[in-house]
Amino acid sequence: MTTTHDAPPAYEPLPEDADLWTAKIRRKLVRALPPDRMVPDRQPAYLSSWIYIFGALTMSALAVVIITGTLLALEGPAWWHLSTVGLFVNSLHLWSVELFFFFMVIHLWGKFFMAAWRGNRTLTWMTGVITFMASIGAGLTGYLSQTNFESQWIATQAKDGINAIGAGAFFNVLNFGQMLMWHIMILPLAVVALTVLHILLVRTKGIVPPFEIASPEGGAHADATAETAGGEG
C-alpha cells in the first residue's frame, strides 16, 4: 500500500529531532494509522453484505442523538413540557436513541456471528461491549432527566438495584441535578471517547476476514494457508 520515496515522508522527523516526544508520538501514530488506513478508499473484497453498514448506522444515530440533545440543552430541561417545538425536538431525541440501540444491537449480533474478535481484535470487541454498557447508562440518566412521571418512577425503582450494589451512596438517581449532569456531560463524553477508540481499533486492525473453510474442488479461497489443518467441523 505504501510506495517508497527517494526522500523520507514529510511526517518523518529530522534526525536531530528524533528524540523529541512530539516526534516519537507522531511517528507512532502515523505508523499505526497511515492516512490511507485512517480514511481508506479500498476495502477487502469479502465485505459483501448489508450487515456491514450497521456500525455506520449506529454512529449516525449517535450523531443525531447528540445534535438533538444539544438542541434540548439550548433551552433547558423543562422546555419540552412548555413548547410544541420543544416536544418535537424531544421526540427526535427519543427516536434517535431507539434507533441507536436498534442498530447497535444488530451490529453486535453481526459481529458476534462473524467472530469479529479473531486475529488480535479482542480489544475492538471489548471496547464495543463497554460502549454498549455506557450507552445504557446514558439512556438511564436521560430518562431520569425528563422531569415527568416516568423520571419519578424510574428513579424510585432504579434506586433499589443501584443501592443494592453499593453505588447508591455516590450515584443518587433521585438527585435530578446530578443525573442531568451525568447525562449531558460525563456519559456522552464517555460514549463518544469509547466510540472513537472502537473505530480507531477497527481502522488499525482492519475488518476481520471470513472463516476459512475447506475448499470444494475449484473453490477460490487460496488466500492464505492455515498453520494447521484448521477449518471448521
Binding site: 416536544l87 456471528f113 479473531r118 433521585l174
Partner: protein
Amino acid sequence: MSKNRRFNPDRDVNPWKGAYRPYDIAKEVTVCFIVVALLVIVLSALFGSPDVKSVTLKSWSNADRVDFATTAIAELDGTSGTATYGAPYNNVAGSGQKVGPVSLVNLMGVHIPVNPSADFVINPLTTVTGQPALSKALATFKAASPAQQAKWEKAYEDAVAKAKVVNNTLVVPAGPYGPVGVLIGELTSMATSGALDTSIINSSGFYSTDYTKSLLFVADSGYLANKGAAEHLSGDQWGMMNGTANYPGQPWLWLYTLWYQVPPFSTSWSANADALVWAFMMVLTALLFFVPLIPGLRSIPRWSRIYRLIWRDYYKGRV
C-alpha cells in the same frame, strides 16, 4: 501472524491477502447519516413522545387524602419504606441486601441521610406560622417521651385505617392519639395546598436540584405504586422494559428484568433480589465482555454457520 501456538479458528485468522475493491467511506457515512436523520424525523412526526405529568405531594394528597395520611403516620412512626430502608439513607439494624454474606450497601454506609419523621413531618410543620393549635401540638409532641409518642402514633395508625374524606377534608375517627391527629391533619392540609412540596424541596436552600426527599416520600405511597402498576411498570410486570402507554420502552433491558420474574429471584431470594440480579447480570456482562477469551462461547459463531450467509459471495468465489 499468530505466535508459537496452534491455530485456533475461533481466536485466530490469517491476514487477508486477497482482492480489494474501491470503497467510498465518506459517501457511506454521509448517506447513512441522512437516512437515519430522515427516519428519526418521520418517526417523531408519526409518533411523538410521551409526557405524563409528575406526581406531586399536592396531586397525590388531593387525589387520596387517606393514603397520604396513612403514609404520613408511617413516616412519623418510622415504619414507612424509607424509614426502614437502611443505607444509604439511614441506619436500620438488619437492613441491606446481601449477595451471600456481603452487603455492599452497608459497607458504603449512610451517605444520603434522610430522617423521615423529621424531614417529612416535623420540620415542615415547624415552618408553619400563625397556627397556634399546630404550634401547641408540636410542642406537646416534642416534649413527650418516646414511649408516649409511640402510643399516640399507634393509636393514630389504627384510627386512620377507618378514615374518610368528607367535603375534601380528612376525617379521622376520634382516638387516644394526642397531638398526632393535629400534626397529620395539618400536614395533609399543607400537602393539598402545595406548601409541603415547596417546604421539602427548599429545606436545603433556595436552589435545589436534589429531589431525594420528595421522591422517597412519594414512593412510600400506595398512590405512586398503583399508578406504576396501571402503566405496567412494576418490577413483576417486566416493568423495567416498558415504555409509557404504547410507546416502545427499553427492550435491551429484557435480560435484566427477566430474572425478577423467575424463581428463585422472585420467590425465596426475593428479599435480596436486587443485589442478586445485579450480581448475576454483572457476571453475564463479564461473559459478554470476555467472549473472545472463552472457549466454547467463542466457538458459537463457527458452529452456528450464520457466517456462511454473511460471506456467501466470498465462499462462492464471487469476489
